[in-house]
């Protein structure tokens, strides 16, 4: 029996679950699922092994699953009725966290930004291809790497400023000491 991942109503990936366990989760016919061997995410009712969850067969312990139109629209995944919206691509942010470190001589941090850019580009690619779950996943990864790069950069700049201030205090106190000794 395969173990499945699925995308919940908030766009988060959950897993893994056996088909029976999936029945206990709040999945609907249009919930996107994935398991090993599948090329991309599919609607749950399109997967042979899971289709029986939606036949209302009590033997599987499935509560009545009424696909709610409003919820499906809210998620924006591939329901035929709702035009999905492209998830946030993070492209502007990831380019900024790639370019800006160069200014503070921390070019090695730009590598993190480049990882973010790659994911950000994937968001657009997957979305144009109609693979909305993968686009959401890429968007999440792009956001994560952008945030990592940003916090490291902020920490680095703070570190530099603190160092400069400490240097000033040190030099200042040395000068004061010198004056004291001379007088």
């Amino acid at each position: 029996m395969n173990r499945y991942f699925y995308i919940d109503t908030e766009g988060k990936q959950k897993g893994t679950f056996s088909p029976d366990e999936l029945g206990q989760e709040q999945i609907k016919k249009e919930t996107l699922v994935w398991t090993q061997g599948m090329e991309q995410w599919k609607r749950a009712d399109e997967v042979e092994e899971l289709a029986r969850l939606f036949t209302g067969d009590a033997a599987f312990g499935v509560r009545e699953q009424v696909p709610s139109y409003g919820q499906a629209q809210q998620i924006g995944y591939n329901t035929a009725t709702a035009a999905p919206q492209m998830p946030r691509s993070w492209m502007v942010e990831s380019i900024l966290v790639t370019i800006l470190p160069f200014m503070f001589c921390s070019s090695f941090f730009s590598l993190l930004g480049i990882i973010a850019i790659v994911y950000a580009a994937q968001v657009e690619s997957f979305f144009n291809r109609g693979d909305y779950a993968a686009a959401a996943e890429a968007s999440r990864a792009a956001g994560k790497w952008t945030r990592i790069a940003m916090w490291i950069a902020i920490g680095w700049v703070l570190l530099i400023i603190i160092t400069i201030i400490l240097l000033f205090v040190f030099v200042g106190s040395m000068a004061g000491l010198g004056e004291l000794l001379n007088s």
């Binding site: 502007v92 380019i95 900024l96 370019i99 200014m103 070019s107 902020i154 240097l167």
Partner: protein, 128 residues
């Protein structure tokens, strides 16, 4: 809720840092004053990275000396308008008014162009 507070905190922190950084770059010349950070890549290899000279370029720009800024780091002077464009599009509402602009300047292919441009600048400045 927590996310919003964190976000607001980051923005405040950046807005507070900006004048401090600008003041430091205005009043001290990275070309002569010793306490500015040095490029690890340059220390390790002796070659210039794409960002080398950008602190000197910022200092020159703050003193309205465009010529020497271009001389210190051409890439950074060209990147500044692009960075400001990105900030405007993403956070100051420019993207809502002109939705086609982010697609042109911050799409998949523009990212590739930016990376290739940085890479060729990197190689070029070390050869010529």
């Amino acid at each position: 809720m927590v996310k919003k507070i964190v976000k607001r905190g980051i923005v405040t922190l950046l807005l507070l840092l900006l004048p401090v950084v600008l003041f430091l770059f205005y009043s001290f010349d990275p070309a002569t004053d010793p306490f500015f950070p040095l490029c690890p890549f340059r220390m390790a290899t002796g070659l210039e990275c794409p960002g080398c000279g950008s602190q000197r370029a910022i200092h020159s720009l703050l003193h309205f000396d465009l010529g020497s800024a271009l001389n210190y780091n051409l890439l950074m002077v060209l990147a500044l308008p692009y960075i400001l464009l990105g900030v405007w599009l993403e956070w100051l509402g420019g993207g809502q008014h002109y939705p086609q602009l982010p697609r042109i300047f911050f799409g998949k292919w523009s990212a590739l162009v930016v990376l290739l441009f940085v890479l060729s600048f990197w190689i070029g400045r070390n050869i010529f």
